[in-house]
């Protein structure tokens, strides 16, 4: 459901840290206001939340029945 609302999807489930983090921040750099980035992970990315807050992004987290954590992120002003 969340995937349909995202402009960029990063599937970090098979990536070793810090790759999902790096790719997410790079993707957030490139999106326009109103666009959204979705990160898929097998765990809750607690450090990412603080980085998002500091850099002016909003986010919404959902956990799917299979255990995947979906983090949808966008610019706060949009």
């Amino acid at each position: 459901m969340t995937q349909a609302r995202a402009d960029r999807v990063i599937d970090g489930r098979d990536m070793e840290p810090p790759e999902p983090f790096v790719q997410t921040m790079e993707a957030l750099d490139t999106i326009k206001p109103g666009q959204k980035v979705l990160l898929l992970l097998g765990r809750e990315p607690i450090p990412l939340y603080r980085a998002l807050e500091l850099n002016g992004y909003s986010w919404q987290t959902e956990r799917t029945a299979e255990g995947t954590v979906e983090v949808l992120m966008w610019h706060k002003q949009s």
Binding site: D14, E16, P17, E26, G42, I46, R50, A51, L54
Partner: protein, 434 residues
């Protein structure tokens, strides 16, 4: 990348690193100690030298690495922020370092004053740590096996410390406690209820994350830490009340818990998506196999008379647990935690204008692989020293010093990469990098 990657949940680098850099020094000291004490150390688990060696590793190497990792992992993995982390780290590190050295000196001299001082320093340092960690975790709901496991591990650590204080205190103040019985309870809580529960709590995050394995199975995650603590508590009760049969059954169940963790970890590791194992994965695999071997030796000693009567079986078990198990898995984790923390710090300092070096360049794979072979050699020689102490104790001592000297070198070279990169950032940005 323009975004600022500031993780203000992370304590300053100095907080975990003072523990990480002290851990190998205790293991190097243990190597020297093997050379100094010679084959007599292997006469029995109760020789002063064997007790001193055990505590150089358990209260020295292991405790330093485990507390250092907790200082770092609690905020980042569980969102549990310890108040004033630098101050806590400084006080706890100084107290446990001094306390562990005093305890080793106490075992070698049997001077009551040294036991008393070790009780004061180790007891106070660990009480402060447990208090601060419990406060950080207290506001968090146990929504994940990691948070739940960290809470139970702190209970395990507290019981281990209280029993340790009673034991050392009884030697210091000549109190009349059943020392052998309390020692068995102390080490079981230390290895299983504290060590294994903490390892499982952290493993739930770091094994799937760094080794690209599936998650631990749900039936295991939901019950493991509570079940381990409950069995440890019931076994302790049975042991103190000298209920022989329940004590035997519950003791076996406790060892089975540790073996189960090892078995489940090996099972999910076999399904790793990584094409080629790295040093961390080999270290974890070796540690889990060693834990299973230790459990098998323990079980054999309980069931086969010849093995049970062999005085060296506890030493064999101890070496498998301490060196093959905990030391291996700790080094394997340091090889992920240390480069990750340094990468994170450099990424922050670069402020989007200079990217941090690739994490894999912070400690080279070659250096980690070579150090791992040295560690494997030291474990093999230590095991051989149980059977032929006069022949193998000296090579084992030298090998332990080499392996941990190499570990220290690898950690220092990572810090050197970090320092050089900070200088480059300073030159480029022209502002202080700290």
């Amino acid at each position: 990348m323009q975004a600022l990657l500031s993780f203000d949940q992370s304590p300053p680098l100095d907080a975990p690193f003072r523990f990480f850099l002290t851990a190998p020094l205790f293991a190097i000291l243990a190597g020297f100690f093997l050379l100094w004490s010679g084959p007599e150390l292997f006469a029995s688990r109760w020789t002063p030298a064997a007790l001193a060696l055990t505590h150089l590793i358990a209260a020295g190497f292991m405790l330093q690495a485990m507390l250092g990792a907790l200082v770092q992992i609690m905020p980042v993995v569980a969102g549990a922020n310890m108040g004033r982390p630098m101050r806590v780290a400084r006080i706890v590190h100084a107290a446990i370092t001094l306390g562990a050295l005093l305890l080793v000196a106490a075992f070698l001299s049997f001077l009551p004053l040294l036991f008393k001082l070790s009780v004061v320093f180790l007891g106070a340092g660990l009480a402060i740590f447990v208090g601060c960690a419990a406060q950080a975790l207290s506001g968090l709901a146990s929504t994940s096996p990691t948070i739940q496991g960290l809470k139970y591990a702190l209970v395990g650590l507290s019981v281990t410390v209280v029993l340790g204080v009673l034991l050392a205190g009884s030697l210091g103040w000549s109190l009349d406690f059943p020392l052998m019985q309390l020692s068995n309870i102390h080490l079981s809580w230390g290895f299983v209820a504290w060590g294994t529960v903490l390892l499982a709590a952290v493993g739930h995050v770091v094994v799937p994350m760094f080794q690209l394995t599936p998650a631990y199975p749900d039936w295991f995650s939901r019950r493991f830490s509570f079940s381990t603590l409950a069995v440890a508590a019931l076994w302790t009760l049975a042991e103190l009340c000298t209920w022989e049969v329940p004590s035997d059954l519950l003791g076996t169940a406790l060892v089975a818990h540790a073996a189960l963790f090892a078995g489940v970890t090996l099972h999910i590791q076999r399904r790793s998506k990584r094409a080629r194992f790295d040093a961390t994965q080999y270290y974890w695999r070796g540690a889990m196999i060693s834990a299973l071997a230790a459990s098998a030796v323990w079980l054999l000693a309980r069931t086969v008379t010849n093995v049970g009567e062999w005085p060296a079986w506890p030493l064999l078990c101890g070496i498998l647990v301490l060196f093959g198990g905990f030391m291996s898995v700790i080094i394997g984790m340091l090889y992920k935690i240390v480069p990750f923390l340094l990468w994170l710090h450099l990424q922050n300092q670069g402020r989007g204008r200079m990217p941090a070096p690739n994490m894999k360049k912070i400690i080279s794979e070659r250096d980690m692989d070579h150090q791992m072979l040295a560690h494997l050699g030291s474990c093999t020689l230590l095991l051989l020293a149980v059977f032929w102490p006069a022949v193998f104790v000296y090579p084992a001592g030298i090998a332990l010093m080499v392996a941990n000297g190499w570990l220290m070198r690898n950690l220092l070279s990572a810090l050197s990469v970090h320092r050089n990169h900070l200088l480059k950032i300073e030159q480029m940005i022209g502002n202080p990098a700290q």
